[in-house]
């Protein structure tokens, strides 16, 4: 490594933000180097300062942010350049792609123009030449029908395609360094794998260095040469990827490597009583197009799906976005209307009005994905979790409700003293516990968990998985666990249903499906999802064979 020249070397980088109630130090003295052509990964969980590190290099800190230290790019200190000089480097020799493919492109301009803009400004290309180059780039990032897509608007493209457009933009001026800030986090696993392959392939052809920011160590193994592990604004460990995977030194790195939820669930016996049954459930949405809905058509979000949920059972429903898995969950709870039969404890729910049939409703509860959006910011935690009691047990006294709130919070392992605080004072994991407490206080029999761990860091995910396990054991609960995250499903579910475009691709006992996936789609999902475990095993094998070679 020492023989190649460093294109970027960062020394003692500090980033702090001034807030009304003091100063927050997001980055506390970070050093790292990037050699030309290599891939460096910066890994850490949310709040580790990994994003702010690169934002400060690009001069993109929020207005209350300050950066100090040194960041040398070919002898020039990025932190001390005038805006005009910095503008000559960023977008030209150092480019960046972002985490949010849906909002990172300007919705008001055609993508051809957006790709061309930096080329016109940095390379001095004529609009016509820039457009021709943009077309070339779109082909390079493998966007189908590139000629036509050049004139598309961002909203006409999928998330994966938009991220490809961002990559095209990043490559336009032949950069020395490409910074990728969680470029695949917002994407489905199979698309994630495609984008990573594309980046790697482009790097081999074009030879730029990549700084890859991620929370997912699994991606790193496949992708990076060297890793910096960040925690609370500091680099806690650094080294070659092969080293870190086999011999992690810092406990935090070890924790990240082991953060995949573990264990599995014994399937319930066939004799367990059936709680919830869906027969031929279909949900369709009318999509209106054109004036007066002339070209309207029906989108089948869930297409003739049947399932049986027994007491104490967890059914995992897996699929990528748009597969209809969340819609299915909501239809089974009769939160949206559907066709087909839904039977709960022998009672047909299809005709029942659950708004009126309260005793039935309280048996069926749901926990949502977004712990930030699903709790009202204007109510205290105590009010939030006891709200359901007001409806279902209006006869309870205030004191009694408070007692139940304390009980429910203890059950989800939160300090009951916190019930008078507001949701914004809690972390994502704590909020998800609150959401679970809100459902549990009604003592339901069936809990639909709609991606309850997807917005959380791996280490927090693990805790929530443990909590869900404990609750299921203690109350003999039945779960419908909806997730795109296969490792969580594997740890929690006894049977699994793989969905795609509203239909079942494959279903069976979790162990069978994961060990011997039958359908290509399932295999593809697995391969993409278990990159990190695969990577670890691979690294261990390589290390072992290297040792053998040494010994002989």
């Amino acid at each position: 490594m020492s023989t190649t020249e460093n294109v970027l070397s960062v020394r003692d980088l500090k980033v702090s933000f001034k807030l009304a109630d003091g100063q927050v130090d997001a980055v506390r003295g970070v050093n790292f180097d990037v050699a030309s052509g290599e891939t460096v990964a910066i890994v850490g969980e949310s709040g580790s300062g990994k994003s702010q590190t690169v934002m400060s290099l690009m001069g993109l800190l929020a207005s209350n942010g300050r950066a100090s230290g040194e960041a040398l790019y070919r002898g020039e200190d990025l932190l001390r350049l005038s805006p005009r000089k910095l503008n000559r480097i960023r977008g030209d020799k150092i480019t960046m792609i972002f985490q949010e493919p849906m909002s990172s492109l300007d919705p008001l301009y055609r993508i051809g123009r957006q790709i061309a803009e930096p080329m016109i400004h940095h390379g001095g290309l004529s609009p016509k030449a820039a457009r021709a180059k943009a077309l070339e780039l779109l082909k390079l990032v493998r966007i189908p029908n590139a000629e036509r897509r050049l004139d598309a608007y961002p909203h006409e493209m999928s998330g994966g395609q938009r991220q490809r457009v961002m990559i095209a933009m990043a490559l336009a001026n032949d950069p020395d360094i490409l910074i990728a800030d969680e470029p695949t986090t917002a994407l489905d696993v199979t698309i994630q794998a495609e984008i990573l392959r594309l980046l790697k392939d482009l790097q081999n052809r074009l030879g730029m260095a990549i700084v890859f920011i991620t929370h997912d160590l699994g991606i790193v193994r496949r992708f990076a040469d060297r890793v910096y592990v960040m925690r609370a604004g500091e680099v806690v460990e650094q080294g070659a990827v092969s080293e870190i995977f086999v011999r992690p030194q810092h406990p935090y790195t070890k924790m990240l490597l082991a953060a995949e939820p573990e264990g599995h669930k014994e399937p319930v016996p066939d004799t367990a009583p059936v709680l919830l049954q869906g027969r031929g459930v279909s949900v369709s949405f009318k999509i209106k197009e054109g004036f007066f809905g002339k070209n309207s058509f029906e989108l089948k979000a869930v297409d003739n799906l049947s399932l049986t949920l027994r007491q104490g059972q967890t059914i995992g429903i897996v699929g990528e976005s748009g597969s209809g898995k969340s819609t299915l969950g909501r239809a089974l709870l009769r939160l949206i209307s559907s066709r087909g039969e839904i039977i709960f404890e022998g009672q047909d729910l299809t005709g029942a009005d659950l708004r009126r049939d309260r005793p039935l409703r309280r048996q069926l509860q749901i926990v949502f994905q977004d712990p930030y959006g699903s709790l009202s910011p204007r109510l205290t935690v105590g009010q939030i979790i006891t709200e359901g009691l007001l409806v279902h047990e209006p006869e309870l006294s205030r004191k009694e409700r408070d007692r139940r709130a304390v009980e429910a919070l203890k059950e989800v392992q939160l300090d009951p003293a916190m019930r008078n605080r507001y949701p914004h004072e809690f972390s994502g994991g704590q909020r998800q516990r609150i959401a679970i407490a809100r459902a549990m206080i009604l003592k339901p029999k069936v809990l639909v968990l709609d991606e309850p761990t997807s917005a959380l860091d791996r280490s927090v995910q693990k805790e929530i998985v443990d909590l869900l396990r404990k609750l299921q054991r203690e109350h003999n609960l039945s779960y419908l666990f909806i997730s795109h995250d296969l490792s969580v499903v594997r740890a929690l579910a006894d049977t699994v249903i793989v969905m795609k475009e509203g239909k079942v691709v494959e279903e069976g006992l979790t162990e069978d499906v994961f060990a011997r996936p039958q359908k290509d789609y399932t295999k593809e999902l697995m391969a993409a999802a278990f990159m990190s475990q695969e990577a670890r095993r691979e690294a261990e094998r390589e290390a072992a064979s290297a040792k053998e070679a040494e010994a002989s």
Binding site: S63, E100, S103, S104, L108, E117, H155
Partner: protein
Amino acid sequence: MLSYVLRRLATAIPTLFVIITISFFLMRVAPGGPFNLERPLEAKVMENLNRIYHLNEPLWRQYLLYLSNLLHGDLGPSFVYRDFSVGDLFAAGLPVSIQLGASALTLALIIGTVLGSIAALKQNSTIDYLVVGVATFGITIPPFVIAPVLSLIFGVSLGWLPAGGWGNGALPNKILPIVTLALPQIAIVARLIRGAMIEALRSDHVRTVRAYGLPTRVVVMVHALRAAILPVVSYLGPAAAALLTGSIVVETIFGIPGVGRYFVQAALNRDYTLVMGTVVVVSIFVVVFNMIVDLVYAWLDPRVRYD
């Protein structure tokens, strides 16, 4: 797009019909009539007048008669301005009101956009607070205070501009009315632009163009401003309709022969046809400007485009 415009206009016809019908009958519910003067007319004279203007016929007949005249483009004679038809009155007054309103609107758009953008770019600075403060002031001070004060300062004390009067549309006569009309609009536009611009500057796609080293000029003018102008466009439809059809306060205080004064005068005098004429004209303006707003919005924002 042409077919969209035609469809929109076609759907506007029933709307106009409903407005006209409701206004027609609502006005007749009010007691009195156009010829109930302070000194009562002789019974014979009254009868003749009522016959000439068809006021002696049943109400539904008068309604049908009005509709059929309207279809022929005839707004009827004014009951109070005896020598003029309603059409004549609008032909004379509307150009004046439109001229003033359009000038005020243009002024408000330009100045409001500039002020709002500067405030957003220098958020929480002295300039920002100044713009927000002045804007709040501009919205809260009603035109019937601004107009006489302006007239007093620039017309009477300094003598730079005529204190009032139309002067056959001479430029100096127009300045004070236009400024009076524009001030509150400047304030509103500046506030809207400021808010939307701050949001746009923080958005992910503006971060992208900044990360790509585009000069601030391009970041602001090309990427942030286009997003920031959208809420102003929505506001502009109803605002333009109101401004172009004249302002009673400004026209009365500066003595301007626009159509704004007809709103109140006609209603007080029970000048049925003139009231109806005003209703028809204002409704058409509202319908047309809302359509223009939708078209401009779609032109600016591809996400809401109609196919």
